[in-house]
């Protein structure tokens, strides 16, 4: 990882699409839950809808962290770090930044890269 946060940002959350039936699963396992297929194709899910958010207070008194549960339709829900202000019911962009899943207001994800 470089010092430039923007360099380690990849759009979308990695998920698996079953090569047999097309079912998208996150996080994906070993066999397709729908058809039992063994082979997955790698896909990225880049949009979702915020179902819930919470502010987590570290026990050591560090800065609070906002997490969001984001629904990705049939693929299920993803727990993401919130970037910027996001609200329940809002559609958000998902990305991987420095190894963690982030949810940001649509349009804000790419431009705010490296902003903090």
């Amino acid at each position: 990882m470089s010092g430039d946060a923007g360099a380690s940002r990849v759009s979308g959350v990695p998920a698996g699409r079953c090569a047999s039936c097309g079912r998208v699963t996150f996080p994906w396992g070993l066999l397709c839950p729908a058809c039992g297929g063994r082979e997955y194709l790698s896909v990225r899910l880049s949009r979702g809808t915020v179902e819930q958010t919470t502010t987590v207070h570290p026990r050591d008194g560090g800065e609070p962290i906002v997490l969001a549960l984001v629904g990705m339709g049939q693929a299920g829900d993803v727990l993401a770090r919130a970037r910027g202000s996001i609200r329940r019911g809002e559609e958000v962009a998902l990305c991987m930044r420095e190894g963690r899943i982030e949810a940001a207001p649509i349009g804000a994800g790419a431009t705010s890269a490296g902003a903090r």
């Binding site: 996080p27 396992g29 839950p33 179902e51 819930q52 919470t54 502010t55 987590v56 207070h57 570290p58 026990r59 962290i65 997490l67 549960l69 299920g76 829900d77 993803v78 727990l79 993401a80 770090r81 420095e98 190894g99 963690r100 899943i101």
Partner: protein, 410 residues
């Protein structure tokens, strides 16, 4: 619910199983009835001393349980354990260090469901003659570092997807489930407060509980938040401690009276983590469990449900039919304040969560209640109890669930 009957996939002492085995062949002897005859729990410690180790805590619980059961170490021929911090040792190291010659042995990794998991298997071992006296143990000694490692490396998905957020442990996951449940049932934090408040009341009667002082609604509502809507009183205090139960073919003079397991059932990974997390495997196994037990929810004098977070108490109560889905509010605001016996040792919310011990804590309490050995918190005339286990958050919620219906042997 009189009579009862055998349900496929569910352990039952009161189906026709035992009789069937006798009548179908003269060569088969009737299945032995295993009885729980002793239970023990060490104090749950917030700040364990430096020299205290997991195996030492397990040894303490082992000895106390043998004494409670009136059993000599040399009679023990089966051993089971669940622990997150025993590694690199396993159950066989423990057998060696305790001096147990084991004809049957097992280890369960199932956390909050490990106690009933081990009991499920131990019952069959005794019924089938593989062992005659089994001690089931669980416990953990946590340093700050050991607990952080457990949270971070709970499973591969946690390590890869949750730890980097960082998610800072289970409360963030359960805050989402709690919010969803509050919305579904129109509940407030003041409603939820009734669970930790009622359990703290029971903890006053448990000398081994980590927290025994009364908890007020004002204290709860002004407490520091952990992950909204969860405050510190909604999250189990991490403690170090151990639990043990003894299962055998018969009671001993000077030991505890017998407790029969009328039925036991489990359902793990019921939905591949695709559901909303507000229904456990218990919902599916519940009808068969009660039918197999020949008893109904209304007959339960004591209830132990896994309380890693208050929302899961409600989910299990509903899944097991102990309250109707539309009775959540009266359960919280009327039944609990009136003393309905749920988690009568204070539960993990007050007694503490000593890692895998959480999986035995509820069983230990129900055995003690049914033996009339629960001290200041004894539920008078307790004859029937139900225990539920839950746990193992794979990603968004726990995947394991099991339950047992127990009865004091007259």
């Amino acid at each position: 619910m009189a009579g009862g009957g055998r349900v496929a996939g569910i352990y039952s002492r009161h189906g026709s199983r035992a009789a069937e085995r006798v009548s179908s062949s003269h060569a088969l002897r009737p299945l032995t009835e295993p009885l729980l005859i002793g239970a023990a729990e060490t104090p749950y410690l917030r700040r364990p001393s430096e020299e205290l180790r997991t195996d030492g805590l397990l040894a303490d619980a082992f000895l106390e349980a043998l004494e409670a059961a009136g059993v000599r170490r040399s009679e023990v021929d089966g051993l089971a354990v669940s622990s997150f911090t025993l590694a690199p040792d396993t159950v066989i190291d423990l057998a060696w260090k305790l001096g147990v010659r084991a004809r049957w042995i097992m280890q369960s990794p199932l956390g909050g469901a490990s106690g009933l998991d081990m009991l499920q298997h131990a019952i069959r071992a005794i019924e089938s003659g593989d062992a005659s006296t089994v001690v089931i143990l669980s416990g953990d000694r946590f340093s700050k570092q050991a607990f952080a490692k457990l949270v971070s490396e709970y499973n591969r998905v946690t390590h890869e997807l949750l730890d980097p957020l960082p998610f800072l442990g289970p409360p963030s996951v359960f805050s989402m489930l709690t919010q969803r449940y509050m919305d579904m049932h129109g509940l407030t934090r003041a409603d939820f407060a009734q669970i930790p408040i009622a359990q703290r009341g029971w903890a006053a009667g448990n000398p081994n509980a980590a927290y025994r002082d009364p908890l007020t609604l004002d204290q709860y509502l002004s407490a520091p938040m952990v992950a909204d809507p969860l405050c510190i009183y909604d999250c189990v205090p991490v403690t170090s401690g151990a639990d043990a139960i003894v299962l055998s073919t018969h009671t001993r003079p000077g030991g505890g009276s017998g407790v029969r397991v009328r039925a036991l059932a489990a359902l793990h990974n019921p939905d591949n983590q695709a559901g909303d997390g507000l229904k456990t495997g218990l919902a599916e196994i519940s009808p068969g469990l009660w039918q197999s037990a020949g008893r109904g929810p209304a007959e339960m004098d004591v209830i132990s449900v896994y309380d890693d977070f208050p929302v899961m108490v409600l989910v299990q109560m509903v899944d097991l039919g102990l309250i109707g889905p539309d009775q959540v509010r009266p359960f919280l605001n009327e039944q609990l304040p009136a003393g309905r016996p749920v988690n009568t040792a204070g539960g993990m919310l007050s007694a503490g969560q000593s890692g895998a011990s959480g999986g035995l804590h509820g069983i230990v309490e129900c055995v003690r209640q049914l033996q009339g050995r629960a001290g200041a918190r004894q539920v008078q005339g307790a004859r029937h109890a139900v225990v539920a286990g839950y746990g193992m958050v794979l990603y968004r919620f726990g995947a394991c669930a099991n339950a047992a219906v127990m009865e004091a042997v007259a």
